[in-house]
Symmetry: C2
Subunit: 266 residues, 2 copies
Protein backbone atom coordinates (compact mmCIF):
# COMPACT_ATOMS: atom_id res chain seq x y z
CA UNK A 1 0.00 0.00 0.00
CA UNK A 2 1.38 3.43 -0.88
CA UNK A 3 1.49 6.22 1.68
CA UNK A 4 -1.24 7.99 -0.28
CA UNK A 5 -3.51 4.94 -0.12
CA UNK A 6 -2.72 4.56 3.57
CA UNK A 7 -3.83 8.15 4.10
CA UNK A 8 -7.14 7.63 2.22
CA UNK A 9 -7.69 4.44 4.17
CA UNK A 10 -6.97 5.70 7.68
CA UNK A 11 -8.86 8.94 7.02
CA UNK A 12 -11.92 6.86 6.37
CA UNK A 13 -11.41 4.38 9.24
CA UNK A 14 -10.51 6.92 11.92
CA UNK A 15 -12.71 9.68 10.45
CA UNK A 16 -9.92 12.17 10.85
CA UNK A 17 -7.54 14.29 8.81
CA UNK A 18 -5.80 15.40 11.98
CA UNK A 19 -2.14 14.53 12.48
CA UNK A 20 -0.57 14.94 15.91
CA UNK A 21 2.86 16.54 15.91
CA UNK A 22 5.30 15.06 18.38
CA UNK A 23 7.60 17.92 19.46
CA UNK A 24 8.60 16.84 22.96
CA UNK A 25 10.90 18.79 25.27
CA UNK A 26 11.78 17.64 28.77
CA UNK A 27 10.89 20.99 30.32
CA UNK A 28 7.30 20.87 29.08
CA UNK A 29 6.47 17.31 30.11
CA UNK A 30 3.65 16.80 32.62
CA UNK A 31 4.91 17.01 36.19
CA UNK A 32 4.57 13.27 36.82
CA UNK A 33 7.57 12.61 34.55
CA UNK A 34 11.13 12.43 35.79
CA UNK A 35 13.33 15.04 34.20
CA UNK A 36 15.30 12.58 32.09
CA UNK A 37 15.55 12.13 28.32
CA UNK A 38 13.86 8.75 28.28
CA UNK A 39 10.69 10.34 29.67
CA UNK A 40 9.98 11.83 26.26
CA UNK A 41 9.59 8.29 24.92
CA UNK A 42 6.99 7.34 27.50
CA UNK A 43 5.22 10.65 27.11
CA UNK A 44 4.92 10.29 23.31
CA UNK A 45 3.99 6.60 23.61
CA UNK A 46 1.06 7.44 25.89
CA UNK A 47 -0.12 10.17 23.53
CA UNK A 48 -0.02 7.68 20.64
CA UNK A 49 -1.88 5.01 22.63
CA UNK A 50 -4.59 7.49 23.57
CA UNK A 51 -5.10 8.92 20.07
CA UNK A 52 -4.30 6.19 17.53
CA UNK A 53 -7.95 5.52 16.73
CA UNK A 54 -8.93 9.15 16.22
CA UNK A 55 -6.10 10.65 14.11
CA UNK A 56 -4.71 9.92 10.63
CA UNK A 57 -1.10 9.88 11.75
CA UNK A 58 1.83 11.42 13.59
CA UNK A 59 4.44 13.94 12.54
CA UNK A 60 7.73 13.42 14.33
CA UNK A 61 9.79 16.57 14.47
CA UNK A 62 13.41 15.46 14.23
CA UNK A 63 14.89 18.55 15.92
CA UNK A 64 13.18 17.78 19.21
CA UNK A 65 14.86 14.39 19.36
CA UNK A 66 18.21 15.48 17.93
CA UNK A 67 18.56 18.07 20.68
CA UNK A 68 19.16 15.11 23.02
CA UNK A 69 21.87 13.60 20.83
CA UNK A 70 22.22 9.87 20.37
CA UNK A 71 19.80 9.18 23.22
CA UNK A 72 17.10 11.29 21.55
CA UNK A 73 17.82 9.80 18.15
CA UNK A 74 17.29 6.33 19.53
CA UNK A 75 13.98 7.37 21.06
CA UNK A 76 12.92 8.75 17.67
CA UNK A 77 13.57 5.33 16.13
CA UNK A 78 11.66 3.55 18.91
CA UNK A 79 8.68 5.84 18.37
CA UNK A 80 8.64 5.26 14.61
CA UNK A 81 8.60 1.55 15.39
CA UNK A 82 5.88 1.92 18.02
CA UNK A 83 3.35 3.75 15.84
CA UNK A 84 0.96 1.20 14.29
CA UNK A 85 1.65 0.71 10.59
CA UNK A 86 -1.84 1.63 9.45
CA UNK A 87 -1.21 5.23 10.59
CA UNK A 88 0.81 7.77 8.61
CA UNK A 89 4.30 8.36 9.99
CA UNK A 90 5.57 11.72 8.80
CA UNK A 91 9.27 12.55 9.23
CA UNK A 92 9.33 16.29 9.76
CA UNK A 93 13.00 16.72 8.95
CA UNK A 94 13.07 19.58 6.39
CA UNK A 95 15.99 17.93 4.61
CA UNK A 96 17.58 18.60 1.18
CA UNK A 97 21.15 18.75 -0.13
CA UNK A 98 23.04 17.94 -3.33
CA UNK A 99 22.00 14.67 -5.00
CA UNK A 100 24.31 12.10 -3.43
CA UNK A 101 23.74 13.66 0.01
CA UNK A 102 19.96 13.75 -0.37
CA UNK A 103 20.14 10.10 -1.35
CA UNK A 104 21.71 9.38 2.05
CA UNK A 105 19.03 11.48 3.80
CA UNK A 106 16.32 9.55 1.93
CA UNK A 107 17.87 6.26 3.07
CA UNK A 108 17.80 7.51 6.65
CA UNK A 109 14.17 8.66 6.50
CA UNK A 110 12.60 5.91 4.42
CA UNK A 111 14.82 2.85 4.87
CA UNK A 112 16.00 3.31 8.45
CA UNK A 113 13.07 5.08 10.11
CA UNK A 114 10.48 3.58 7.74
CA UNK A 115 8.62 6.87 7.50
CA UNK A 116 5.70 7.16 5.07
CA UNK A 117 6.38 10.79 4.29
CA UNK A 118 9.00 13.49 4.71
CA UNK A 119 9.16 17.28 4.65
CA UNK A 120 11.83 18.73 2.33
CA UNK A 121 13.15 22.19 1.50
CA UNK A 122 13.04 23.25 -2.18
CA UNK A 123 15.78 25.94 -2.17
CA UNK A 124 18.45 23.68 -3.74
CA UNK A 125 16.20 22.63 -6.63
CA UNK A 126 15.32 19.49 -8.53
CA UNK A 127 18.28 17.18 -7.95
CA UNK A 128 18.18 17.89 -4.21
CA UNK A 129 14.67 16.40 -4.03
CA UNK A 130 14.69 13.70 -6.69
CA UNK A 131 16.33 11.08 -4.41
CA UNK A 132 13.25 11.39 -2.18
CA UNK A 133 10.86 11.10 -5.14
CA UNK A 134 12.65 7.90 -6.16
CA UNK A 135 10.71 6.29 -3.32
CA UNK A 136 7.47 6.22 -5.28
CA UNK A 137 5.37 4.75 -2.47
CA UNK A 138 6.09 7.65 -0.12
CA UNK A 139 4.82 11.22 0.08
CA UNK A 140 7.33 14.07 -0.21
CA UNK A 141 6.01 17.31 1.26
CA UNK A 142 7.84 20.26 -0.28
CA UNK A 143 7.88 23.45 1.79
CA UNK A 144 5.76 25.99 -0.09
CA UNK A 145 4.44 28.71 2.23
CA UNK A 146 5.32 28.08 5.86
CA UNK A 147 3.42 29.19 8.93
CA UNK A 148 6.17 31.31 10.54
CA UNK A 149 6.74 35.10 10.30
CA UNK A 150 9.90 34.55 8.22
CA UNK A 151 7.74 33.22 5.36
CA UNK A 152 7.52 36.92 4.40
CA UNK A 153 11.28 37.23 3.80
CA UNK A 154 11.69 35.10 0.69
CA UNK A 155 8.63 32.91 0.09
CA UNK A 156 6.42 35.92 -0.61
CA UNK A 157 8.77 37.99 -2.76
CA UNK A 158 7.40 38.63 -6.23
CA UNK A 159 8.80 37.13 -9.42
CA UNK A 160 6.99 38.50 -12.47
CA UNK A 161 3.89 39.23 -10.39
CA UNK A 162 3.98 35.80 -8.78
CA UNK A 163 5.18 35.07 -5.25
CA UNK A 164 8.12 32.69 -4.93
CA UNK A 165 6.06 30.02 -3.12
CA UNK A 166 3.66 29.87 -6.06
CA UNK A 167 6.57 29.60 -8.46
CA UNK A 168 7.94 26.75 -6.31
CA UNK A 169 4.61 24.90 -6.35
CA UNK A 170 4.08 25.32 -10.10
CA UNK A 171 7.59 24.16 -10.92
CA UNK A 172 7.94 21.29 -8.48
CA UNK A 173 4.46 19.75 -8.63
CA UNK A 174 5.52 17.49 -11.50
CA UNK A 175 8.90 16.45 -10.05
CA UNK A 176 7.32 13.36 -8.58
CA UNK A 177 3.89 12.07 -9.49
CA UNK A 178 0.62 13.53 -8.25
CA UNK A 179 0.26 11.14 -5.34
CA UNK A 180 3.77 11.27 -3.96
CA UNK A 181 4.22 15.04 -4.26
CA UNK A 182 2.68 17.14 -1.52
CA UNK A 183 3.25 20.61 -0.12
CA UNK A 184 3.57 22.18 3.31
CA UNK A 185 1.21 25.12 3.48
CA UNK A 186 0.82 27.04 6.74
CA UNK A 187 -2.66 27.62 8.14
CA UNK A 188 -1.64 31.20 8.83
CA UNK A 189 -2.20 32.06 5.13
CA UNK A 190 -5.81 31.16 4.15
CA UNK A 191 -5.98 33.62 1.23
CA UNK A 192 -2.87 32.16 -0.35
CA UNK A 193 -4.18 28.64 0.28
CA UNK A 194 -7.26 29.53 -1.72
CA UNK A 195 -4.99 30.48 -4.64
CA UNK A 196 -2.81 27.37 -4.34
CA UNK A 197 -5.86 25.09 -4.41
CA UNK A 198 -6.69 26.51 -7.84
CA UNK A 199 -3.22 25.57 -9.07
CA UNK A 200 -2.89 22.25 -7.27
CA UNK A 201 -6.41 21.04 -6.46
CA UNK A 202 -5.43 17.40 -5.99
CA UNK A 203 -2.04 17.70 -4.29
CA UNK A 204 -1.85 16.47 -0.71
CA UNK A 205 -1.21 19.38 1.62
CA UNK A 206 0.35 19.15 5.05
CA UNK A 207 -1.09 22.09 6.95
CA UNK A 208 0.58 23.14 10.21
CA UNK A 209 0.04 26.35 12.11
CA UNK A 210 -3.31 25.71 13.80
CA UNK A 211 -3.21 26.23 17.54
CA UNK A 212 0.00 27.59 19.07
CA UNK A 213 0.80 29.48 15.87
CA UNK A 214 -2.63 31.08 15.57
CA UNK A 215 -3.92 29.73 12.25
CA UNK A 216 -7.69 29.89 11.79
CA UNK A 217 -9.06 26.39 11.30
CA UNK A 218 -12.31 27.39 9.63
CA UNK A 219 -10.75 29.84 7.17
CA UNK A 220 -8.16 27.18 6.34
CA UNK A 221 -10.70 24.45 5.65
CA UNK A 222 -12.80 26.77 3.52
CA UNK A 223 -9.77 27.76 1.44
CA UNK A 224 -8.72 24.11 1.13
CA UNK A 225 -11.93 23.33 -0.81
CA UNK A 226 -11.97 19.67 0.31
CA UNK A 227 -8.63 18.93 -1.36
CA UNK A 228 -6.64 16.09 0.22
CA UNK A 229 -5.14 17.64 3.34
CA UNK A 230 -3.57 16.67 6.62
CA UNK A 231 -4.04 19.18 9.41
CA UNK A 232 -1.16 19.03 11.87
CA UNK A 233 -1.48 20.18 15.46
CA UNK A 234 1.43 19.73 17.84
CA UNK A 235 1.77 21.72 21.06
CA UNK A 236 -1.94 22.49 21.23
CA UNK A 237 -2.69 18.76 21.53
CA UNK A 238 0.25 17.20 23.32
CA UNK A 239 0.40 19.82 26.07
CA UNK A 240 -3.36 19.95 26.66
CA UNK A 241 -2.80 19.15 30.30
CA UNK A 242 0.26 19.18 32.52
CA UNK A 243 -1.42 16.82 34.98
CA UNK A 244 -1.69 13.03 35.15
CA UNK A 245 -4.56 13.18 32.67
CA UNK A 246 -2.31 14.51 29.88
CA UNK A 247 -2.98 11.63 27.46
CA UNK A 248 -6.73 11.70 28.00
CA UNK A 249 -6.70 15.49 27.67
CA UNK A 250 -4.78 15.19 24.38
CA UNK A 251 -7.38 12.70 23.11
CA UNK A 252 -10.21 15.01 24.11
CA UNK A 253 -8.54 17.88 22.33
CA UNK A 254 -8.21 15.70 19.20
CA UNK A 255 -11.92 14.83 19.38
CA UNK A 256 -12.82 18.53 19.65
CA UNK A 257 -10.62 19.35 16.65
CA UNK A 258 -12.01 16.42 14.64
CA UNK A 259 -15.49 17.64 15.35
CA UNK A 260 -14.72 21.15 14.09
CA UNK A 261 -12.81 19.85 11.06
CA UNK A 262 -15.37 17.20 10.12
CA UNK A 263 -18.23 19.66 10.22
CA UNK A 264 -16.48 21.33 7.27
CA UNK A 265 -15.04 18.47 5.27
CA UNK A 266 -14.04 14.80 4.93
CA UNK B 1 37.90 32.07 21.17
CA UNK B 2 35.16 32.53 18.57
CA UNK B 3 34.89 30.23 15.55
CA UNK B 4 35.96 33.15 13.37
CA UNK B 5 39.11 33.69 15.44
CA UNK B 6 39.76 29.97 15.40
CA UNK B 7 39.59 30.05 11.60
CA UNK B 8 42.04 32.96 11.33
CA UNK B 9 44.34 31.22 13.79
CA UNK B 10 44.40 27.77 12.23
CA UNK B 11 44.63 29.22 8.71
CA UNK B 12 47.86 30.86 9.78
CA UNK B 13 49.26 27.88 11.74
CA UNK B 14 48.41 25.17 9.19
CA UNK B 15 48.83 27.48 6.17
CA UNK B 16 45.61 26.20 4.71
CA UNK B 17 42.09 27.31 3.87
CA UNK B 18 41.22 23.77 2.85
CA UNK B 19 38.53 21.92 4.75
CA UNK B 20 38.11 18.19 4.29
CA UNK B 21 34.55 17.00 3.91
CA UNK B 22 33.77 13.73 5.65
CA UNK B 23 31.06 12.05 3.55
CA UNK B 24 31.73 8.37 4.27
CA UNK B 25 29.77 5.48 2.80
CA UNK B 26 30.57 1.84 3.53
CA UNK B 27 30.62 0.88 -0.15
CA UNK B 28 33.39 3.35 -0.96
CA UNK B 29 35.76 2.54 1.89
CA UNK B 30 39.21 1.22 1.01
CA UNK B 31 39.22 -2.54 0.59
CA UNK B 32 41.09 -3.18 3.83
CA UNK B 33 37.99 -2.22 5.83
CA UNK B 34 35.34 -4.69 6.90
CA UNK B 35 31.93 -3.89 5.48
CA UNK B 36 30.43 -2.79 8.79
CA UNK B 37 29.16 0.60 9.96
CA UNK B 38 31.86 1.10 12.57
CA UNK B 39 34.49 1.05 9.81
CA UNK B 40 33.45 4.55 8.79
CA UNK B 41 34.64 5.77 12.20
CA UNK B 42 38.12 4.29 11.78
CA UNK B 43 38.31 5.46 8.18
CA UNK B 44 37.46 9.09 9.09
CA UNK B 45 39.72 8.96 12.17
CA UNK B 46 42.72 7.97 10.03
CA UNK B 47 41.96 10.72 7.52
CA UNK B 48 41.85 13.24 10.38
CA UNK B 49 45.11 11.97 11.91
CA UNK B 50 46.86 12.21 8.56
CA UNK B 51 45.63 15.70 7.68
CA UNK B 52 45.11 17.63 10.92
CA UNK B 53 48.26 19.71 10.49
CA UNK B 54 47.61 20.70 6.88
CA UNK B 55 43.93 21.70 6.79
CA UNK B 56 41.84 24.37 8.52
CA UNK B 57 39.10 21.99 9.55
CA UNK B 58 36.57 19.29 8.74
CA UNK B 59 33.03 19.41 7.42
CA UNK B 60 30.95 16.53 8.67
CA UNK B 61 28.03 15.78 6.39
CA UNK B 62 25.19 14.63 8.65
CA UNK B 63 23.33 12.67 5.95
CA UNK B 64 26.17 10.20 5.53
CA UNK B 65 26.00 9.29 9.21
CA UNK B 66 22.21 9.45 9.53
CA UNK B 67 21.86 6.87 6.75
CA UNK B 68 23.18 4.35 9.30
CA UNK B 69 20.65 5.30 11.95
CA UNK B 70 21.57 5.43 15.65
CA UNK B 71 24.86 3.65 14.98
CA UNK B 72 25.91 6.28 12.43
CA UNK B 73 24.72 9.10 14.65
CA UNK B 74 26.89 7.86 17.47
CA UNK B 75 29.91 7.69 15.15
CA UNK B 76 29.21 11.29 14.12
CA UNK B 77 29.40 12.32 17.77
CA UNK B 78 32.63 10.37 18.33
CA UNK B 79 34.22 12.07 15.31
CA UNK B 80 33.23 15.54 16.50
CA UNK B 81 34.87 14.66 19.80
CA UNK B 82 37.96 13.24 18.12
CA UNK B 83 38.79 16.28 15.96
CA UNK B 84 41.30 18.50 17.83
CA UNK B 85 39.66 21.65 19.17
CA UNK B 86 41.99 24.03 17.36
CA UNK B 87 40.49 22.91 14.04
CA UNK B 88 37.16 24.12 12.67
CA UNK B 89 34.35 21.60 13.02
CA UNK B 90 31.63 22.37 10.52
CA UNK B 91 28.25 20.66 10.88
CA UNK B 92 26.98 20.31 7.33
CA UNK B 93 23.38 19.74 8.26
CA UNK B 94 21.43 22.22 6.08
CA UNK B 95 18.90 22.73 8.86
CA UNK B 96 16.16 25.35 9.38
CA UNK B 97 12.57 25.29 10.62
CA UNK B 98 10.17 27.53 12.57
CA UNK B 99 11.73 29.31 15.54
CA UNK B 100 11.20 26.89 18.41
CA UNK B 101 12.22 23.96 16.19
CA UNK B 102 15.36 25.71 14.93
CA UNK B 103 16.22 26.37 18.56
CA UNK B 104 16.24 22.61 19.14
CA UNK B 105 18.37 22.07 16.01
CA UNK B 106 20.83 24.71 17.24
CA UNK B 107 21.05 22.91 20.60
CA UNK B 108 21.83 19.68 18.79
CA UNK B 109 24.50 21.21 16.56
CA UNK B 110 26.20 23.58 18.98
CA UNK B 111 25.54 22.20 22.47
CA UNK B 112 25.53 18.47 21.80
CA UNK B 113 27.97 18.09 18.90
CA UNK B 114 30.00 21.16 19.88
CA UNK B 115 30.32 22.24 16.26
CA UNK B 116 31.96 25.58 15.46
CA UNK B 117 29.79 26.23 12.45
CA UNK B 118 26.66 24.99 10.72
CA UNK B 119 25.11 25.17 7.25
CA UNK B 120 21.49 26.41 7.19
CA UNK B 121 18.80 26.86 4.54
CA UNK B 122 17.30 30.37 4.16
CA UNK B 123 13.93 29.48 2.56
CA UNK B 124 11.93 29.85 5.79
CA UNK B 125 13.34 33.31 6.57
CA UNK B 126 14.62 35.26 9.52
CA UNK B 127 13.07 33.53 12.53
CA UNK B 128 14.13 30.13 11.18
CA UNK B 129 17.80 31.17 11.38
CA UNK B 130 17.90 33.51 14.38
CA UNK B 131 18.19 30.67 16.96
CA UNK B 132 21.48 29.74 15.27
CA UNK B 133 22.70 33.35 15.29
CA UNK B 134 21.98 33.50 19.01
CA UNK B 135 25.19 31.49 19.39
CA UNK B 136 27.39 34.50 18.74
CA UNK B 137 30.68 32.60 18.91
CA UNK B 138 29.75 30.28 16.05
CA UNK B 139 29.61 30.72 12.27
CA UNK B 140 26.29 30.22 10.49
CA UNK B 141 26.74 29.49 6.79
CA UNK B 142 23.55 30.38 4.93
CA UNK B 143 23.02 28.60 1.60
CA UNK B 144 23.32 31.24 -1.12
CA UNK B 145 24.22 29.70 -4.48
CA UNK B 146 24.87 25.98 -4.25
CA UNK B 147 27.12 23.87 -6.46
CA UNK B 148 24.49 21.46 -7.81
CA UNK B 149 22.52 21.64 -11.10
CA UNK B 150 19.28 22.40 -9.19
CA UNK B 151 20.71 25.78 -8.15
CA UNK B 152 19.23 26.93 -11.49
CA UNK B 153 15.66 26.12 -10.45
CA UNK B 154 15.07 28.76 -7.81
CA UNK B 155 18.35 30.34 -6.64
CA UNK B 156 18.95 31.96 -10.03
CA UNK B 157 15.42 33.17 -10.81
CA UNK B 158 15.25 36.93 -11.25
CA UNK B 159 13.54 39.30 -8.83
CA UNK B 160 13.59 42.86 -10.14
CA UNK B 161 16.70 42.11 -12.19
CA UNK B 162 18.43 40.44 -9.28
CA UNK B 163 18.79 36.68 -8.83
CA UNK B 164 17.22 35.19 -5.72
CA UNK B 165 20.59 34.12 -4.23
CA UNK B 166 21.78 37.74 -4.35
CA UNK B 167 18.56 38.90 -2.72
CA UNK B 168 19.11 36.25 -0.01
CA UNK B 169 22.68 37.43 0.63
CA UNK B 170 21.76 41.12 0.74
CA UNK B 171 18.87 40.54 3.09
CA UNK B 172 20.41 38.01 5.45
CA UNK B 173 23.96 39.36 5.78
CA UNK B 174 22.92 41.52 8.72
CA UNK B 175 20.84 38.89 10.51
CA UNK B 176 23.82 37.95 12.61
CA UNK B 177 26.97 40.01 12.87
CA UNK B 178 29.69 40.12 10.23
CA UNK B 179 31.83 37.46 11.83
CA UNK B 180 29.19 34.88 12.60
CA UNK B 181 27.32 35.17 9.29
CA UNK B 182 28.78 33.28 6.36
CA UNK B 183 27.46 31.93 3.08
CA UNK B 184 27.73 28.71 1.13
CA UNK B 185 28.77 29.55 -2.41
CA UNK B 186 29.47 26.75 -4.89
CA UNK B 187 32.76 26.78 -6.81
CA UNK B 188 30.77 25.92 -9.93
CA UNK B 189 29.74 29.60 -10.25
CA UNK B 190 32.90 31.80 -10.42
CA UNK B 191 31.17 34.69 -12.24
CA UNK B 192 28.49 34.94 -9.60
CA UNK B 193 31.12 34.68 -6.86
CA UNK B 194 32.82 37.71 -8.34
CA UNK B 195 29.54 39.63 -7.97
CA UNK B 196 28.87 38.40 -4.43
CA UNK B 197 32.33 39.48 -3.29
CA UNK B 198 31.42 43.04 -4.27
CA UNK B 199 28.34 42.88 -2.06
CA UNK B 200 29.87 40.92 0.82
CA UNK B 201 33.65 41.42 0.66
CA UNK B 202 34.28 40.44 4.27
CA UNK B 203 31.78 37.62 4.81
CA UNK B 204 33.24 34.17 5.38
CA UNK B 205 32.38 31.90 2.47
CA UNK B 206 32.23 28.15 2.58
CA UNK B 207 33.02 27.03 -0.96
CA UNK B 208 32.24 23.44 -1.94
CA UNK B 209 32.16 22.02 -5.47
CA UNK B 210 35.87 21.67 -6.24
CA UNK B 211 36.82 18.18 -7.36
CA UNK B 212 34.04 15.64 -7.85
CA UNK B 213 31.60 18.40 -8.78
CA UNK B 214 33.91 20.02 -11.32
CA UNK B 215 34.43 23.52 -9.92
CA UNK B 216 37.51 25.35 -11.20
CA UNK B 217 39.82 26.16 -8.29
CA UNK B 218 41.75 28.97 -9.99
CA UNK B 219 38.68 30.77 -11.33
CA UNK B 220 37.11 30.45 -7.87
CA UNK B 221 40.10 31.90 -6.03
CA UNK B 222 40.38 34.77 -8.49
CA UNK B 223 36.69 35.62 -8.06
CA UNK B 224 37.01 35.36 -4.29
CA UNK B 225 39.45 38.30 -4.24
CA UNK B 226 41.21 37.10 -1.07
CA UNK B 227 38.04 37.38 0.99
CA UNK B 228 37.84 35.07 4.01
CA UNK B 229 37.00 31.68 2.51
CA UNK B 230 37.06 28.01 3.34
CA UNK B 231 37.46 25.69 0.37
CA UNK B 232 35.81 22.35 1.00
CA UNK B 233 36.84 19.19 -0.80
CA UNK B 234 35.24 15.88 0.14
CA UNK B 235 35.28 12.84 -2.16
CA UNK B 236 38.28 14.10 -4.11
CA UNK B 237 40.40 13.93 -0.94
CA UNK B 238 39.00 11.11 1.16
CA UNK B 239 38.79 8.62 -1.70
CA UNK B 240 42.22 9.46 -3.16
CA UNK B 241 43.23 5.83 -2.89
CA UNK B 242 41.26 2.65 -2.29
CA UNK B 243 44.39 0.87 -1.09
CA UNK B 244 46.07 0.64 2.31
CA UNK B 245 47.72 4.01 1.68
CA UNK B 246 44.35 5.83 1.66
CA UNK B 247 45.21 8.19 4.55
CA UNK B 248 48.63 9.07 3.17
CA UNK B 249 47.10 9.55 -0.28
CA UNK B 250 44.46 11.88 1.20
CA UNK B 251 47.22 13.91 2.90
CA UNK B 252 49.16 14.11 -0.35
CA UNK B 253 46.05 15.30 -2.18
CA UNK B 254 45.57 17.97 0.51
CA UNK B 255 49.17 19.14 0.09
CA UNK B 256 48.68 19.40 -3.68
CA UNK B 257 45.49 21.40 -3.21
CA UNK B 258 47.12 23.64 -0.58
CA UNK B 259 49.93 24.33 -2.98
CA UNK B 260 47.58 25.40 -5.78
CA UNK B 261 45.41 27.44 -3.42
CA UNK B 262 48.30 29.13 -1.61
CA UNK B 263 49.92 30.21 -4.86
CA UNK B 264 46.83 32.40 -5.30
CA UNK B 265 45.98 33.59 -1.84
CA UNK B 266 46.37 33.36 1.97
Amino acid sequence: MTAYEKFINIRSINQSILCVGLDPTQEKLPVIFKREVNSIYFFCKSIIEATQNIVCGYKLNFAFFEQYGVEGYEILKRLFDFIPDNLLKIADAKRADIGNTSKAYAKSIFDYFNADAVTVNPYMGYDSLSPFFDYKDKIVFILALTSNPGSQNFQKIMINEKPLYQYVVENSMTWGDLKNTGFVFGATHPEELDLIRKIAPESVLLIPGIGAQGGDIKATLKANKNGPAIINVSRNVIYSSSGQDYAEAAANRVLQLNSVINSFSL
